[in-house]
Amino acid sequence: MAARTEDGVARGGPIARCIVYGILMLAAAYFLLPLYVMLTTSFKTLPQIANGSLLSLPSPFSVSAWGDAWSSACTGGDCNGLHHYFWNSVAFTAPAVALSTAFGALNGYVLTKWRFKGSELIFGLLLVGTFVPFQMFLLPMARVLGIIGLDNSVAGLTLVHTVYGIAFTTLFCRNYYVAIPDELVKAARIDGASFISTFRHVILPISTPILMVCVIWQFTQIWNDFLFGVVFTSGDAHPITVALNNLVNTSSTGVKRYNVDMAGAIITALPTLLVYIVAGRYFMRGLTAGAVKG
């Protein structure tokens, strides 16, 4: 992105600048409001929520809703909180992210540096595949998972997320490797490096940025998935997103405990939010790589 060295189009007097800053701050408040309300509500007690203001700070400050959301709130069938489902999500997200990223890097390497007749066709098919709504895959996949005995399991979700993640990781890596000069690979091959050693010693050492993009993109996609989780699992094997929805929308008995709902929502959001805060720059790069240029 060519940064402008001069004052872009900016002009205008101090009043105009104040208005611009005012609007931007207002927009920031709009984007932050739900996060603020989510956090403050999670630390309030129920009487405080019922009698206080939506925007007030919690006083007294109570963490009991967090404990309930983690270990005792009802999520449809059972009342053991979200902790079990949190670890479910970790259990399929970690391997699915690693596998889909590894395959993406390998595919991108072959599709750019070892082209063969038909490799462009494979890439084209892959690209088109990224746009197909997942709804097209649900009925057959449910059948196949049933036949191979992986329905309603963390292993099944790992398989599903890996398979449908490869298209995106391959796209990212292919677009990154295409910009690496072919001479680099040719030189290594003349020196006697094989297919695998060229990958290990020439390509992998310069791949860190794109691998970060893949990992972050896949992590947010897979952790946040709801559709595959709700269709392919039930009860004990649910991912955290499905459990959160059950916690909020199926608990029928008694008073609505908004503080527990909000604590549960933050617990669900925390991993991806942390990744965004720590590695936001790669997050944006992954999004634009997927969106702006195929």
């Binding site: 927009a27 739900p34 070892w114 097209m136 020196d191 909000m262 991806t272 999004l287 702006v292």
Partner: protein, 310 residues
């Protein structure tokens, strides 16, 4: 295998085994992904289309029924409710995201001091699960204790904001939450586009006496065409697939009032044992995405052809 050691020694290209490996290993490496692509993407597309043309109900079967499932589908009120909801939701979602995104991007492009911070704040909702977004907005929009109650407590006691529980308005509540989630992303896309514009043309126009709004309307915004294009494609395909947010925010209700095709597909295909109808709904969703993609594909191909000419 000598693969693990860095390249060293005399060239070994002549070795037959090595040549054989170099020729076939790349293809072998693509086999797992290629098979997955053929089976789990294209095979499943074919399978779902086939299911939509059978009499499958509780269990899939292979009794050919032509387009009967589609005929049944088109006679269901709840399907049309879903389609109309998607149209309302999709148009508003895309239009609002584009408007807010472009507006904020233009403001952010005025040499703003805290730009990095603001961009981070605008974009973070996209890192959240749509289920989380739905849960939070369900709390904010609930008439009893949420924003309605808050505004009333400020003194405007007649204030009413009950969209979430009002069947005629609930789909607009979904729009509010969905726009909140994606507007920052569109802002970032437009900002990247603005930064890529050649400033010399703008300078020249300003020297010629063009006013700032005029510069934006006749030079800057038209040159953002490609960004509009990719943002629209992306937002339309997101809208067609929207499922999680509606489930978490309204559960499709009140009644059927916020059903969308993705909910229809899930409910008929998995809860009601109407696999044929579910498959037909999924197939139509794919057709809709393909229709939305078509203009982009054509433009892309044209661009490529023109690029080759130059």
């Amino acid at each position: 295998m000598s693969d693990t050691t860095p390249p060293a020694g005399p060239p070994t290209r002549g070795m037959p085994v090595r040549r054989w490996l170099d020729r076939w290993l790349p293809k072998i490496a693509l086999v797992p992904s290629g098979v997955a692509l053929l089976v789990f993407v294209y095979g499943f597309i074919g399978w779902t289309i086939w299911l939509s043309m059978t009499t499958s109900s509780l269990l899939p079967n292979n009794t050919f029924a032509g387009l009967r499932q589609y005929e049944v589908l088109f006679q269901l009120d709840v399907w049309w409710v879903s389609v109309i909801n998607l149209a309302i939701f999709g148009v508003l979602y895309v239009a609002l995201c584009l408007a807010i995104g472009l507006f904020l991007a233009i403001l952010l492009d005025q040499k703003i001091r805290a730009e990095g911070w603001l961009r981070t704040i605008y974009l973070y909702p996209l890192a959240l699960s749509l289920v989380v977004t739905g849960v939070v907005w369900k709390w904010l929009l609930n008439p009893g204790l949420g924003l309605e109650h808050f505004v009333q407590s400020l003194g405007w006691t007649g204030f009413s904001f009950d969209w979430l529980v009002n069947p005629d308005m609930a789909i607009y509540a979904v729009v509010i939450a969905a726009v909140w989630q994606a507007a920052g992303f569109v802002t970032a896309l437009f900002l990247a586009g603005l930064r890529g514009i050649d400033t010399s043309i703008i300078k020249a126009a300003q020297i010629d006496g063009a006013s700032l709004p005029r510069v934006y309307l006749s030079i800057i915004i038209p040159s953002l065409r490609p960004v509009f294009f990719s943002a629209i494609i992306l937002l339309v395909s997101l809208a067609i697939k929207s499922f999680d947010l509606v489930i978490a925010l309204t559960g499709g209700g009140p009644g059927y009032s916020t059903w969308v095709p993705a909910i229809f597909m899930y409910d008929f295909g998995f809860n009601r044992g109407q696999i044929g109808l579910g498959a037909a709904a999924a197939t139509l969703m794919m057709a809709a995405v393909a229709l939305a993609m078509l203009p982009m594909l054509i433009a892309e191909l044209k661009e490529r052809r023109d690029g080759r000419k130059n």
